[in-house]
């Protein structure tokens, strides 16, 4: 019962926040709603007995990525916050316009119908029962990382390092251009 309640709340949080991400004008608010959506996903992980993934989700995403994004918004978005209502929907330039929204919704509908087409074939699989919990999965996962998926694990660490260094280099203003912009 608690599980169902948790599932429903998480699902609503996820989907609702995601919809708000889409529709909010202010990019800052969008980021905050993304936070909600990610927390909801974490809740869903919890209902799937994936406690470690849920914890990582909250830590990395909520603690890292979204904060990063908020910083990016604050660093860049100052000007774009000023609403220059330019069309019927009263949207601001970086929000997109009615055409881009129509196309986006159209394409996502195409995706949804395609997905339903695929899901309808999973009818047999979805009847599988929940065969009890894994217990604490942290140890298992740790084993899997250093045994089966060691290569991917190592690569991801290299990736992270590369991304870190790369991000730093990219974001650093070039010296000879720096005067123009600072």
């Amino acid at each position: 019962m608690f599980l169902n309640l948790l599932f429903l709340m998480s699902a609503f949080l996820t989907v609702g926040s995601a919809v708000l991400v889409l529709t909010t004008k202010n990019i800052m608010h969008s980021c905050v709603f993304l936070l909600g959506s990610l927390i909801g996903v974490a809740g869903l992980y919890a209902t799937l007995d994936a406690d470690f993934v849920a914890a990582t989700q909250i830590m990395v995403y909520v603690g890292g990525v979204v904060i990063l994004m908020l910083f990016a918004v604050m660093l860049t978005g100052g000007k774009d916050f000023i609403s220059k209502a330019q069309n019927l929907l009263g949207l601001i330039p970086t929000m997109g316009n009615k055409w881009s929204y129509s196309i986006g919704i159209l394409v996502s509908l195409v995706f949804v119908f395609t997905n339903i087409q695929l899901l309808s074939r999973l009818g047999t699989m979805s009847t599988l029962k929940n065969n009890g919990s894994f217990g604490s999965s942290i140890r298992e996962i740790g084993h899997l990382f250093v045994k089966d998926h060691i290569l991917a694990f190592e690569l991801s660490s290299v990736l992270l390092l590369g991304a870190l260094v790369g991000a730093a280099i990219i974001a650093r203003p070039h010296r000879h251009q720096g005067h123009d912009h600072d």
Binding site: S100, I103, V107, V110, F111, F113, T114, Q117, L118, R121
Partner: protein, 720 residues
């Protein structure tokens, strides 16, 4: 006498050669080559005179004709046969017409050397003049409709150029377009009629058309729901309507006075407008076969009367003459319609002479006074005595006073019309034609004398103009041509019997030569006529020449031509009526403009005068409504439809569909082909890239759309 290229072709070729030489090197010749044009037309005159003497002087019978052809081009090959022949056709009518055209044109050429002498484009004027007369002479000599049409259009071009001669004036441009386009409306119908005739006859030579009519080839066929004969006759008559400025295509002729005055003389008298009536006369058997004569008579009567009413209120000297031309042409066409073949043709000739003279007189006045508004003139008869004499004679002629040329021809048309409308036993509705005719005759006498009185009588209304008027210039090229033409406005030249009982024998011919010689073609005679080659040698034997047989005939071929008694009485009534009418018209004009005991028209009928001054609003209707409100907006709409809608959406829309496909293929190219590493697949791919580079926008979101849609497409296609 022989009829070879050497003896006939110079009539056309002499002015044409003058045209070619003057067009190319005219500026380098002494006097800009005017002498060449004058000489050329005089040579034509001599050759024409020879033919005239041959035919009228008594060598040939009344119904004799010469028809010679040569092949222009031949398209026969295989089982297909088609060739186009050109040639000459000369009969009594042609010979008289040739003499008239060359004679009048010579006078006009001579006069032009004086009138135009200080014009900056003196040489150019003679270039057009030569081409114009050669066009008319070619038309008269033509043996078929095709070559007639060719010369017909060349004249149209010349009138276009001459009317637009003073091209610095915008109005000249408008008038020239109007002239060309209005006559062109008739011309295209003529072309259509010619094509239709060609289909039936296999040819368009006059003799073959006559033969086909006699053989009944036109009977029983239908075109677009009406009988073939009526259709072709109507199309050909449309040519006349356009060229001879008949209702409802009369609008161009008054505007034609934008050109120099001698060119107006040429257009109004000898060449352009006469060609229309000439065509109707040539095609008279077709008009009868097509049962179109009533229509023709009605058109002629409407034109004759309507133009006369408009002429009443014109203040411009040349405009009065222009409307009088339209009115007189109406009489000729009416004559064709009522079957007064001979008289109609006679009126072509007499009118050509006196109208040329009138225009040249007008030219003389304008050149001396530099003013053509009649209300500003007056009392000029002391300053320009010879011009006054010439113009007076012509005015008497056009008004239909006895002993003048206009009377003998117009009176006979009116007499025949009277018989045709009232006594020939057909529906009395057609009495409208002679009634309009007689009413028009009254108006003609009135407005012509109004013009005379305003110009030459009374006190000068503009003292300044009068004082600056030059004393009349006397010279072989200024007023001598006028006086020569004046001599021929006398009636006895055309109808000896009127002046006196076989006393005057013109050119050795019998009296009333005109009435006897010219007759409507008898179509039966042309069946199985032989083909004669037009070459440098005349192949006929001297003994083939027919013996002249003169017998008196009425020249009337309308309804019931045999009723001699009725015809005669109609003529007597008509003659008395027209004399009375002419004199009363002159008297009224005298009262109004000399005695001033009757109020002028403009004060009596104020409202109607406005309508007349606007020429019954025909010009407004054609230009303002049909063209400016109708045709041009429609064209703009169509053009917008073409480039703004059809091209933009249907064609370019299709292109943007393609562009979308290109983007997919571009993505495909980038992701699949390029990443695998296929490069340089030759010219086609290079070209494709070129196009893609132009159409591809580089918008990342769009690629994403394509990605999703394509993936979905794969799923739907293969459904795993």
């Amino acid at each position: 006498m022989e009829y070879t290229i050497g003896s006939v072709a110079p009539i056309f070729l002499a002015p044409f050669t003058a045209f070619v030489i003057n067009a190319f090197v005219g500026k380098k010749l002494p006097r800009q080559g005017d002498w060449l044009s004058v000489l050329a037309i005089f040579i034509s005159f001599l050759f024409s005179f020879r033919i005239f003497m041959d035919f009228v002087g008594g060598s040939f019978a009344t119904d004799y004709y010469i028809h010679k052809v040569f092949t222009w081009f031949d398209l026969s090959s295989g089982n297909q046969n088609f060739k186009v022949e050109m040639g000459i056709y000369i009969d009594q009518m042609t010979s008289i017409m040739l003499l008239m055209v060359t004679g009048v044109a010579t006078m006009i050429h001579l006069f032009s050397t004086w009138y135009m002498h200080d014009d900056v484009r003196y040489g150019k004027f003679f270039v057009y003049l030569s081409l114009f007369t050669s066009g008319m002479l070619g038309l008269v000599l033509s043996d078929n409709l095709l070559s007639l049409f060719i010369f017909w259009e060349i004249m149209g071009f010349c009138s276009y150029s001459l009317i637009g001669f003073y091209y610095e004036k915008e109005k000249a441009g408008d008038a020239s377009i109007k002239a060309f386009m209005t006559t062109r409306v008739g011309d295209v119908f003529l072309l259509l009629g010619m094509v239709a005739i060609w289909q039936v006859v296999g040819n368009v030579s006059f003799v073959d058309i006559y033969a086909a009519i006699a053989e009944g080839k036109f009977a029983g066929q239908q075109v677009l729901g009406i009988s073939l004969a009526t259709f072709t006759a109507f199309c050909v008559f449309m040519g006349t309507i356009g060229k001879s400025a008949q209702f409802p295509l009369q609008v161009w002729l008054p505007d034609a006075m934008m050109g120099p005055t001698p060119c107006s003389a040429l257009i109004h008298a000898a060449t352009m407008v006469a060609a229309g009536v000439y065509l109707s006369l040539r095609m008279y058997p077709l008009m009868v076969a097509g049962d179109l004569t009533h229509f023709i008579a009605l058109i002629g009567a409407i034109t004759a009367f309507g133009a006369a009413t408009i002429a009443l209120v014109q203040t411009d000297l040349k405009a009065v003459l222009a409307f009088s031309t339209i009115s007189q042409l109406g009489y000729m066409v009416m004559g064709v319609g009522v079957g007064s073949y001979n008289a109609a043709f006679m009126h072509v000739i007499t009118h050509a002479v006196f109208k040329a003279c009138l225009f040249l007189s007008a030219g003389s006045i304008i050149h001396s006074v530099h003013e053509q508004e009649m209300p500003k003139l007056g009392g000029l008869r002391k300053k320009l005595p010879f011009t006054f004499i010439a113009m007076m004679a012509c005015t008497l002629a056009i008004a239909g006073v006895p002993f003048f040329a206009g009377f003998v021809s117009k009176d006979r048309i009116l007499g025949d019309a009277l018989y045709w409308g009232l006594f020939s036993g057909q529906s009395k509705v057609w009495a409208i034609v002679p009634i309009l005719g007689f009413a028009g005759a009254f108006l003609t006498a009135f407005y012509m004398f109004r013009m005379m009185f305003l110009i030459f009588f009374g006190q000068p209304r503009d003292k300044h103009l009068y004082d600056h008027c030059h004393q009349e210039h006397i010279g072989f090229n200024s007023n001598i041509p006028l006086l020569i033409l004046t001599v021929f406005t006398l009636g006895f030249w055309y109808a000896g019997s009127l002046t006196g009982q076989n006393i005057v024998k013109v050119f050795g011919a019998k009296t009333e030569w005109f009435k006897i010689l010219v007759e409507a073609p008898k179509v039966e005679k042309f069946i199985n006529h032989p083909r004669e080659e037009f070459g440098f040698v005349d192949t006929r034997l001297k003994t083939d020449l027919p013996v002249a047989v003169y017998e008196h005939q009425s020249g009337f071929v309308g309804v019931n031509p045999e009723n001699e008694h009725g015809l005669h009485s109609a003529h007597v009534i008509g003659a008395i009526a027209s004399i009375f009418i002419a004199l009363s018209g002159i008297f009224l004009a005298y009262l109004m403009y000399v005695k001033r005991s009757v109020k002028p028209l403009a004060e009596s009928f104020r409202g109607y005068t406005t309508t007349l001054q606007n020429r019954y609003y025909f010009d407004n209707f054609y230009v303002g409504r049909v063209i400016q409100k109708g045709l041009i907006p429609f064209n703009r709409f169509l053009s917008w439809l073409d480039s703004g809608v059809y091209d933009r959406y249907a064609v370019d829309g299709w292109a943007s569909v393609n562009r979308f496909l290109f983007r997919i293929s571009k993505w495909f190219d980038d992701v699949i082909v390029d990443s695998i590493g296929v490069d340089g697949t030759g010219v086609a791919v290079n070209l494709m890239n070129l196009i893609l580079r132009i159409v591809q926008s580089g918008k990342i979101q769009f690629y994403f759309v394509v990605l999703i849609v394509t993936l979905a497409g794969y799923v739907w296609t293969f459904k795993f």
